[in-house]
């Protein structure tokens, strides 16, 4: 799966699972500050990512996800690893 496909599926999740406004979703958008995703929303997102991409994201790795781009990186690394 290439990076652009990961990005587009992740963006789809942000809209369908978190109800975010698609126009605000950019690689450098910060979940907390720019997208107003709170701690419960982050948990929802992680669960959706795990389901969508069939990966496991331990809590300590989840803490490093601050932006949309970082989430794409994490998933890409998991799928590559």
């Amino acid at each position: 799966m290439d990076r652009s496909e990961i990005e587009s599926r992740l963006n789809g999740l942000l809209v369908s699972e978190l109800g975010l406004d698609e126009s605000k979703i950019r690689p450098d958008a910060r979940f907390e500050e720019d997208l107003e995703v709170d701690s419960l929303g982050v948990v929802e997102l992680l669960m959706a990512l795990e389901d969508e991409f069939g990966v496991q994201i331990p809590d300590e790795e989840a803490e490093n996800i601050g932006t949309v781009g970082q989430a794409v990186d994490l998933v890409a690394n998991k799928l590559a690893g």
Binding site: L18, G19, L20, L40, V43, E44, M47, D51
Partner: protein
């Protein structure tokens, strides 16, 4: 007025509702005067496995008409409905608090919910069974807890004062209104949002009520299924919906020139102390609540012009409530007008008390009594004036609204023309 002229008085300055008859107060009233039934075959899920396949659903409700999508999905349906009713009521009252407004510190909210977020609960249990505990949505608990309507309303409408939740089954929102009024009376707040909501139309709830033999199984005639006080009643019809009242300290309302819909003059409670679901035979428990409400209001039975009955359409309730009204009102029982709007709305459970408070206040303001529809065959045990089938014009000054709940909770509210 109980303790005398010093007591702070509580008036109603706003009303809102979304229920099986309509999405606004005016639409609901119009439908009620037309004798409309909100009952039909269940559409929320496939009911074909159930003994009861009918309910009174809120029709054509799309949460995204009222909320941002990301906000809507964080609320259980019962909270969504409560927020819709509350927004209407605040608008009707002409009240909107800014976060910096000192008055917002003197404003609070009490919600009544008989059950709470059962739809969310069931969804969570399904996930647990099918996919394991790690897949349970993190919003599950915040969505399902019964108080969240009050929490959300305080967040959305900047209500920084007293907040609470009553969970007394089918009397929950009558308790919410009464308790909110007490908060104003004792001086802890000047404005209280008070109401109730319920939305549990799912296979689990209907199946559970079926097991306890509480529901009508009149699937062939949904509109005729809720028939309070009629000899051939066979149980209540599950409904859903929300209603909200804005309660306000009278001097404050007068000072700002608010449109006062009515005054809440009496609140009475009692317990049957008898059985988990059945009313105490003879009606002494329910009568005690009505008497307590009249004493709180400082009125005599002869002053009661109309009673909005609990009137569930179960065999036990309607006969017992009739007996209770006779005990509480004595000679007045034979001439007071009584109706059950549950004949049209179905039973909103925790939302019922607030829904029926709205009908009670509209009866005062619009000089018309809403009917008990489907009343065809008199029951010797139910021999009072139930305003059968068609609305009645009447000069109404003082009304009582009854609400009773599983567990033996009895609540009566008394409203008077402003």
């Amino acid at each position: 007025m109980g303790s005398g002229a010093e007591r702070r008085r509580v008036v109603v300055t706003g009303l809102g509702t979304i229920n099986p008859l309509g999405h606004t107060v005016d639409d609901t009233w119009k439908a009620a005067l037309a004798g409309t039934s909100g009952v039909d075959r269940i559409t929320a899920f496939d009911p074909s496995r159930l003994a009861t396949q009918i309910a009174a659903e809120v029709k054509d409700f799309d949460p995204e008409d009222h909320f941002e999508r990301k906000d809507a999905r964080r609320m259980d349906r019962f909270t969504q409905l409560f927020m819709v009713a509350t927004a209407q009521a605040l608008q009707d009252a002409g009240i909107a608090f800014d976060p910096a407004d000192p008055d917002a510190r003197r404003a609070g909210v009490v919600i009544g919910a008989g059950i709470g977020g059962m739809l969310t609960f069931v969804e969570g249990i399904d996930t647990l069974r099918e996919r394991g505990p790690s897949r349970i949505n993190p919003l599950t608990i915040p969505k399902l807890i019964s108080n969240m309507g009050a929490g959300m309303a305080s967040i959305e409408f900047n209500l920084y004062g007293p907040t609470n939740c009553t969970v007394t089954a089918c009397s929950a929102s009558a308790n919410a209104i009464g308790d909110a009024a007490e908060i104003i009376r004792r001086g802890a707040a000047d404005v209280m949002v008070a109401g109730g909501s319920e939305a549990v139309i799912c296979e689990f709830a209907v199946g559970s009520f079926n097991s306890s033999k509480a529901l009508s199984t009149n699937n062939d005639d949904p509109q005729g299924a809720s028939r309070p006080f009629d000899l051939n009643r066979d149980g209540f019809v599950l409904g859903e919906g929300a209603a909200t009242l804005i309660l306000e300290e009278r001097e404050r309302a007068l000072a700002r020139g608010a449109d006062i819909h009515a005054e809440l003059i009496g609140y009475g409670m009692s317990a049957d102390a008898y059985h988990i679901t059945l009313p105490r035979p003879g009606g002494a428990g329910a009568a005690a609540a009505m008497v307590a409400a009249m004493e709180d209001a400082g009125i005599e039975p002869a002053e009661v012009d109309y009673i909005n009955a609990h009137g569930t359409s179960t065999s036990a309730n309607d006969a017992t409530e009739t007996a209770a009204i006779k005990l509480a009102l004595g000679d007045r029982a034979g001439s007071v007008a009584i109706s059950s709007t549950k004949s049209m709305t179905g039973h909103l459970l925790g939302g019922a008390g607030a829904m029926e408070a709205v009908f009670s206040i509209l009866a005062i303001n619009r000089s018309t009594l809403p009917p008990t529809i489907n009343y065809q065959t008199p029951d010797p045990e139910c021999d009072l004036d139930y305003v059968p089938n068609t609305p009645r014009e009447a000069d109404v000054s003082t009304v009582m609204s009854n609400s009773f709940g599983f567990g033996g909770h009895n609540v009566a509210l008394v409203f008077r023309a402003a």
